[in-house]
């Protein structure tokens, strides 16, 4: 029960009036930014990072926790009321959620999403409390070769299992690794890829890279394709659920949580798979299966819970191994590094106060989210009507502000523009963003471990495979690379579109994906 005591200590540290205020500000800012169309949770966290620059680590983390959950919740609101999911994790929510909204049940859809997120987030965070410390205990023991192998596995998983084109995944990954090379070599102090610029030799500020790729890149891409005809927005009152809605929702919440958490916790990357599985499962189990495709509440409750539980699950590899597996977690990792904290096996033992405060903050942020957002939902829904020129001009404004505040140098604004243009090109050429940002963050770490392992073996390549764990992981990586090809050959029908009901945008999307392959 040691973990619970520590969590209790974290709660006591986090539950001061000042900290609660920061949590509340975080939740409100996160939801505000997350609800805005075109802004997903990763972009919300990246844009709001600078706000926490002047704060103590504890307060900054509490605010992050609020921003994180707020941004996720905001995303689901958008997909229910607009039927255009901003990110792949809310595609499944949008299917039934928007149908519910069109049938006049927007309030119930938002309520089951909010309460389901709360239930899943709370259970998920408690599971992190139990799983992360033992994993960290094991992780402290693993040597450089195994760590290198695990890092490599995270990259391969994110790059080749997710996304529709492996070639594009790897291009994005290696773009990220190249960006990660820029700056002083940590061992010899020589600048690499720095073009004799002192600002570059000093290593790139990850905030500038993330804001450029996520925020500016997205804004420029939207600017090139701005919808001429505004979308139809469904008005909504205060979210509530009747007795029947509750009885239909609670089981999908729990099942979604059970599906989502493991997918977040083992670096299998992302919430797409569990939300999809949850949707299919609820559809199979539903007593009134015919209601699916016409706004079944189970189809919102399950995937939303799976989405949040998987988000909570990503904290297990993040805190215990220092491995982020989603874009949002990667930016959180960058934020931690900004405070001079190196996430990894040592984090749990070296900075226990911080870790437990962060976990406690996640619980608090989650609760505040529910308390604040149920009454505020009608207000958030109005944000969807923001005139688009203002919305995207605002994103440009805050992206520049964020990049500028990193070092107060015009050069960072120039870098922002460069990465914004790269982000634009990535969207034009369908290069996934996650492998890139993962490469930027994990590349330097990977190189350090590689050199460590080879220094121990005095340059002998066998030094990379002299630990059993490393060998096992390399075998898994090989299987991961081969399995999709084999499965794809054997079961060509196992495509998402085969199971998704005929519905305009999703079908379109999937067909296009199919055409890709």
């Amino acid at each position: 029960m040691g973990s619970l005591d520590l969590l209790w200590g974290g709660l006591e540290a986090a539950l001061t009036p000042t900290n609660l205020m920061y949590a509340a500000i975080g939740v409100l800012l996160g939801t505000f930014v997350g609800v805005l169309p075109g802004i997903g949770p990763a972009m919300a966290v990246a844009l709001l990072l600078p706000v926490t620059f002047g704060l103590e680590p504890t307060q900054a983390f509490i605010m992050f926790a609020g921003i994180y959950y707020g941004g996720m919740y905001g995303g689901s609101t958008t997909s229910i009321l607009l039927n255009t999911p901003g990110e792949s994790a809310s595609v499944m929510t949008a299917i039934e959620g928007n149908k519910m909204a069109k049938r006049g049940r927007a309030a119930q859809a938002l309520a089951t999403a909010a309460i389901g997120s709360f239930v899943a987030g709370t259970i998920g965070t408690l599971l992190v409390v139990f799983f992360a410390p033992p994993l960290a205990d094991i992780a402290v023991e693993i040597g450089a070769p195994s760590y290198l192998a695990v890092t490599l596995m995270a990259m391969v998983l994110v790059t080749s299992v997710l996304g529709s084109s492996r070639l594009r995944g790897f291009i994005a990954l290696f773009l990220g690794l190249t960006i990660g090379l820029v700056g002083l070599d940590l061992n010899t102090g020589q600048p690499r890829l720095s073009f004799d610029q002192p600002q570059l030799a000093d290593r790139l500020d990850i905030v500038v890279v993330a804001v450029g790729i996520f925020a500016l890149g997205e804004a420029l891409w939207v600017a090139a394709h701005l919808r001429r005809r505004p979308l139809e927005i469904i008005p909504v009152g205060r979210p509530f659920m009747g007795r029947e809605d509750w009885s239909r929702s609670w089981k999908p919440w729990l099942r979604g949580t059970a599906l989502g958490f493991p997918f977040g916790a083992v670096p299998a990357g992302g919430a797409e798979t569990p939300t999809f599985l949850s949707y299919v499962l609820e559809r199979r189990l539903a007593r009134r299966g015919d209601e699916f495709g016409h706004g079944a509440i189970e189809g919102v409750a399950g995937p939303e819970a799976a989405n949040n539980a998987s988000a909570a699950g990503t904290f297990v590899p993040l805190l215990a191994l220092g491995l982020p597996v989603t874009a949002t977690a990667t930016i959180m990792l960058a934020a931690l590094q900004g405070y001079g904290i190196q996430p990894g096996p040592q984090l749990m033992t070296e900075q226990p106060d911080l870790v437990w405060t962060l976990l406690a903050s996640l619980l608090i942020g989650n609760t505040l989210l529910l308390v604040l957002n149920l009454p505020l939902a009608p207000l958030w829904a109005r944000l969807l009507r923001v005139p688009r020129p203002y919305l995207y001009a605002g994103i440009l404004f805050f992206a520049s502000l964020g990049a500028y505040t990193a070092n107060l140098e015009a050069f960072d604004l120039f870098l922002l523009l460069v990465f914004g243009l790269l982000g634009l090109a990535m969207r034009r050429f369908a290069l996934p963003v996650l492998p890139l940002i993962l490469g930027v963050i994990l590349g330097p770490l990977m190189e350090t471990k590689l050199r460590e392992a080879l220094a121990i073996s005095d340059g002998d390549l066998s030094g990379l495979v002299n630990e059993p764990l490393a060998v096992i992981v390399y075998v898994i990586i090989a299987l991961l690379l081969v399995a999709p090809v084999v499965v794809g050959r054997l079961r060509p029908d196992l495509e998402p579109s085969a199971l998704v009901p005929p519905e305009e945008h999703v079908t379109d999307d999937d067909n296009r994906k199919k055409a890709e392959r």
Binding site: D185, T188, L193, A224, P389, N511
Partner: protein
């Protein structure tokens, strides 16, 4: 988009090649090549059997290989699936003029931020971007921009203790 056109595209009959992808491949090749060159200029340290150049060599070499693969894929008719989104309408051709205007606004900000300061640059940035995106209420846009930039200047100065550049308004703010 109907299923029939998708089938056609899948078979690679009707769909034209996406030639701009070759530009991307060229960019990747240049990046990979430069990474290799840059690595070759590094000196090997003492007691470091790997040295600072191994990792960049690997990254640069793979990058060149990926560029080549992309060229092959493009010539074989592989097309990117452009990213959708809430406000993205892919049924119209891309409007690069708007993007160019936005880039212009950002370049102006970069060039003048040390001279004019955030309070002025921020306002110009917002109003200019709104104009580029089709807003035609210039006065209102400028007013919103001024409120945003002055408020953010004070929020960072007073709230977070970060002095953003005051520029020519130094002493006024």
């Amino acid at each position: 988009m109907s299923t029939t056109t998708d089938q056609g595209r899948r078979a690679g009959q009707a769909a034209p090649r996406d030639l701009p992808q070759l530009g991307l491949a060229a960019l990747l090749a240049v990046m990979g090549g430069y990474t290799l060159y840059d690595a070759s200029t590094l000196e090997v340290g003492f007691a470091d059997p790997v040295g600072p150049q191994l990792f960049p060599y690997a990254v640069g070499a793979v990058m060149l290989a990926l560029a080549a693969l992309l060229v092959v894929a493009t010539l074989r008719g592989d097309r990117p699936e452009e990213e959708g989104g809430e406000d993205v309408d892919l049924t119209h051709p891309a409007d690069w003029g708007t993007v160019l205007k936005l880039v212009g606004v950002l370049v102006f900000t970069i060039a003048t931020i040390n001279l004019l300061g955030w309070a002025i640059n921020g306002a110009i940035l917002f109003a200019g971007a709104a104009w580029a995106l089709g807003s035609r209420t210039l006065l209102k846009d400028v007013l919103i921009g001024i409120v945003l930039s002055v408020a953010s200047w004070y929020a960072f100065y007073v709230g977070l203790g970060i002095p953003l550049s005051a520029g020519i308004l130094d002493g006024v703010l």
